[in-house]
């Protein structure tokens, strides 16, 4: 099984993944929401040409036409964070070019003509930016970007103006959540220009204690400064989380281990399980693994489970559409199988 998520990255006990995304637009074409179908097709062709027909490791990239893909496959890509839900709207032809190891995804005709995205495990925003930068420079050889010396890269939405960069990291913060200290963290981040949101779940409550931090400002700072800001704040959050985890354990090791093992117990034995419950339990087990309490499961396996329990990916594994009830059963089957239990 390929994918960046089976690699272990730095600080992986707290940081699941890092992502850098660049927004770019062609000169001489309106932005996607004002484009004609023909223009949109032309843009898709030009990007395809710039990447797949040149020597930029063509065998490593796959072209995915959003107009031709079926909804479940598209949703599966969204669940993998390879494309955004916005790309799936069918107002104009859109596409994505994705590397086989799923580290790189280039979206065409999302909100901007181009969204170049790089995903790395753990906290590696600098590496993700390096790769994005490289791909951007390569694309730029064949594409004239909309750019002004005053504003930088011109984007559809003013919130992306300038560098067009969004640097984000996905963090697992069970101790900060459990102790309630996460509120203070959210406030502090807001004041420092860092946005925080829960990744799964509809409200501000984050499912599975998973949060994403990202920069809010894209103009006035260099890309390196932005990357460093998010990385530094990430590191501070990591330290706080680790300290709190150690403290929680110290205060009552038996209760701590009990919670972790009970969750593992349910995951290993349930016959029916919802995705909300799965997220919650996986978070507990992950904490146990991170702290060395649970020794025979590795984080890569948990990442894999976290991905395949989601609706579209789950249905792809069983190769047919499933009703919500069927999904809950198959999910439980999948989890037990991945954990090596019959």
């Amino acid at each position: 099984m390929e994918g960046w998520y089976i690699e272990k990255g730095p600080e992986s006990d707290v940081v699941m993944s890092s992502r850098v995304r660049l927004a770019r637009n062609f000169k001489d074409y309106p932005f996607p929401f004002k484009m004609s179908r023909e223009d949109a097709e032309k843009v898709v062709e030009r990007v395809k040409d710039a990447i797949l027909n040149r020597s930029i490791a063509t065998s490593n990239y796959e072209f995915k036409d959003m107009l031709k893909m079926n909804p479940i496959d598209k949703q599966a890509l969204v669940e993998k964070h390879l494309i955004s839900p916005n790309l799936v709207n069918e107002r104009v032809p859109s596409a994505a070019i994705i590397s086989k190891d799923e580290k790189v995804s280039i979206m065409i005709n999302e909100e901007d003509h181009l969204r170049i995205q790089c995903l790395f495990p753990g906290l590696q925003l600098d590496k993700a930016w390096e790769l994005c930068d490289k791909i951007d420079s390569l694309l730029e050889e064949n594409i004239d970007y909309a750019f002004s010396e005053k504003y930088g890269y011109l984007t559809c939405c003013p919130t992306n103006l300038g560098t067009g960069i969004r640097a984000s990291a996905m963090l697992h913060l069970p101790a900060l959540t459990m102790t309630g200290y996460i509120r203070g963290m959210l406030d502090a981040c807001g004041k420092l220009g860092i946005a925080v949101r829960g990744i799964y779940g509809e409200n501000s409550e984050a499912l599975g204690n998973l949060f994403q931090i990202s920069n809010q400002i894209t103009l006035g700072l260099s890309e390196e400064e932005i990357i460093n800001n998010v990385t530094n704040i990430g590191n501070q959050i990591i330290n706080q989380e680790r300290t709190l985890r150690a403290e929680l354990y110290r205060q009552n090791p038996y209760r701590f281990e009990d919670k972790v093992y009970r969750s593992l117990g349910i995951l290993s034995n349930a016959r029916i399980i919802s995705s909300e419950e799965s997220f919650k339990l996986i978070s507990d087990v992950r904490l146990g693994v991170d702290m060395g309490i649970i020794k025979n499961i590795d984080v890569a396996k948990l990442n894999e489970i976290l991905l395949y329990i989601q609706p579209a990916n789950l249905q792809k594994i069983f190769d047919r559409t499933l009703s919500p009830d069927e999904r809950d059963i198959k999910r439980a089957d999948l989890i037990r199988e991945k954990l090596g239990i019959n």
């Binding site: 637009n25 000169k27 074409y29 309106p30 932005f31 929401f33 004002k34 909100e111 930068d133 951007d136 420079s137 730029e140 050889e141 004239d144 970007y145 909309a146 750019f147 002004s148 010396e149 005053k150 504003y151 930088g152 890269y153 011109l154 984007t155 559809c156 939405c157 003013p158 919130t159 103006l161 300038g162 560098t163 960069i165 809010q216 400002i217 894209t218 103009l219 006035g220 700072l221 260099s222 890309e223 400064e225």
Partner: protein, 165 residues
């Protein structure tokens, strides 16, 4: 209370309908309400919806502003104020100045400090070289080094010709 349709999820939406003077109240969960088309969530409030207030202008557009329309994509400043998005790169030229307060609120510093596309950075390099040469030209003329001045002048002309393309 459980949703009256699916009987599974918690009902957190109360819908009151008045049909032919009869009042009906039904309780649905969000999902069923959406499916029934009775609960219009639309797209959630996004930051773009707040832009108009940040631009800091009165709600009614002045006559001068009404005429601000991008000649390339046809998007008007009026429309921008509603959706918070630009139609094309030219829009920035047409009504970009109006946005200074908004951009200040979003980003703080308005001076671009990021990566330069290769083609652009070359232009910047060339224009700086031209300025430098012009200075040299002035000095040469002052010192009555007319031959040197002529050489410099030719170089400047060449650079200007190339960069004008």
């Amino acid at each position: 209370m459980l949703c009256q349709k699916c009987q599974k999820r918690v009902a957190n939406i109360q819908i009151t309908q008045i049909v032919n003077n009869n009042k009906q109240v039904i309780y649905l969960c969000e999902q069923c309400a959406r499916e029934e088309g009775k609960f219009i969530t639309g797209s959630p409030l996004s930051v773009n919806d707040f832009f108009s207030s940040m631009i800091g202008f009165p709600v009614r557009t002045s006559v001068g502003e009404q005429q601000l329309v991008c000649d390339k994509c046809g998007m008007s400043y009026e429309e921008f104020k509603k959706v918070g998005k630009f139609g094309c790169e030219n829009c920035y030229k047409v009504y970009g100045e109006k946005l200074t307060p908004l951009l200040k609120r979003l980003h703080g510093n308005l001076q671009y400090h990021g990566k330069l596309p290769k083609k652009v950075s070359e232009d910047v390099k060339v224009s700086r070289e031209i300025e430098y040469l012009k200075e040299q030209l002035n000095n040469a003329v002052k010192n009555e080094e007319y031959e040197k001045a002529a050489e410099i002048r030719d170089r400047i002309r060449e650079l200007e010709k190339n960069s004008a393309s």
